[in-house]
């Protein structure tokens, strides 16, 4: 049962892969870099 739990855990990785997530993540990344740039 332990191994089954471990394999189901591994099957959950990567936790999210949608294209929309990439867009949102990069958007957030760029926003933060922009703030850093403005602060500089």
């Amino acid at each position: 049962s332990l191994l089954r739990q471990v394999s189901s855990l591994l099957r959950r990785l990567p936790v999210i892969e949608s294209g929309k997530f990439q867009d949102d993540f990069l958007m957030e990344y760029n926003d933060t870099l922009l703030i850093t740039y403005l602060a500089m």
Binding site: L13, P14, V15, I16, E17, F25, E28, Y29, T32, L33, I35, T36, L38, A39
Partner: protein, 312 residues
């Protein structure tokens, strides 16, 4: 022994109240010890208010120059963005609550009040100072605690301040600079006028053996929460507010610099120093905002590497 602090010695407290050692020394109380329970209850209450100020009372005792806060309870007070006033109904509630508490075997007295400053830092406004001076006149020993629930989330630690006011007309000795904090432009006037009328006390925390046990049990929730939260997501509005406040301050500084363009020749060195320190503050504010943002981004990147970059 860690639980001995929770013991309430009625006789000692009564004697302390009779001696009134704080009367001769406006700076008598220097330390505050807050229990984990009281801290949690105050922070949860402050956060539940969102952008509205909330208010409550703290119960505890004194120990030499320390005020010990053991518990806290919320007051049925309607707060608004800028002020909290314990209307009459709150006074009635306070008396009832304290009376019933004592009947239930909780001997601690009310030792102070707390309220929240959502998003604009922990200090006392003019209204807070007058409220606290009144309390210190009639309800000593009495402490004022301010919590900023919004900054608590963005900084990842509880933004809290404990204060006591000086008597009317008292001139405090030069204050050691307390930890720097950003005061929003629309509050700076109120802050500047009153910041010499009160002083901050050192805050430490304590917890009982039961608290330790319960917090250990909650540990699983804590590390999961740390890995699955994002300060960037929950705090957009607050950061936007901070950046717009920064822009206003920059504009104001620029205008002043513009006026004093011919200043360098005539402006006294003091004035130039002032402009510098104002700009220095703005620079520090902007660095603070950015560092918090970068921290938020770092945690997102780490989470991305940890949980997304695994390939089957």
């Amino acid at each position: 022994s860690s639980d001995s602090i929770f013991y309430f010695d009625d006789a000692a407290q009564t004697k302390f109240l009779q001696d009134k050692p704080w009367v001769n020394d406006p700076h008598y109380f220097k330390r505050v010890k807050i229990s984990a329970l009281a801290l949690l209850k105050m922070v949860v209450h402050a956060r539940s208010g969102g952008t509205i100020e909330v208010m409550g009372l703290m119960q505890g005792k004194t120990d030499g120059d320390s005020i010990i806060v053991m518990d806290a309870f919320a007051l049925p007070v309607e707060g608004t963005e800028t002020r909290v006033n314990a209307q009459a109904d709150a006074y009635e509630y306070m008396v009832d609550y304290s009376t019933i508490n004592k009947q239930a075997g909780r001997p601690e007295n009310v030792v102070g009040w707390y309220h929240s400053h959502p998003g604009y830092g922990c200090w006392l406004s003019g209204i807070d100072v007058s409220t606290q001076m009144l309390n210190q006149q009639y309800q000593e020993p009495f402490l004022a605690v301010v919590i900023d629930p919004t900054r608590t989330v963005s900084a990842g630690k509880v933004e809290i301040g404990a204060f006591r006011t000086y008597p009317e007309g008292y001139k405090p000795p030069d204050e050691p600079v307390s930890e720097y904090q950003t005061i929003p432009l629309n509050k700076i006037e109120d802050f500047g006028v009153h910041c010499k009328q009160y002083y901050a006390l050192d805050i430490t925390y304590f917890k009982s053996s039961l608290d330790c046990h319960l917090l250990d049990l909650l540990w699983n929730k804590y590390w999961v929460n740390t890995l699955s939260s994002s300060s960037l997501l929950g705090n957009g509005d607050y950061v936007a507010g901070q950046i717009s406040d920064l822009a206003e301050k920059l504009e104001q500084a620029e205008n002043q610099l513009a006026h004093s363009r011919f200043g360098p020749l005539m402006a006294p060195p003091q004035r130039k120093k002032e402009d510098d320190s104002q700009l220095a503050k703005i620079t520090r504010d902007s660095a603070k905002i950015t560092v918090e943002q970068v921290h938020g981004l770092m945690s997102q990147v780490i989470k991305d590497i940890l949980f997304n970059s695994v390939s089957q």
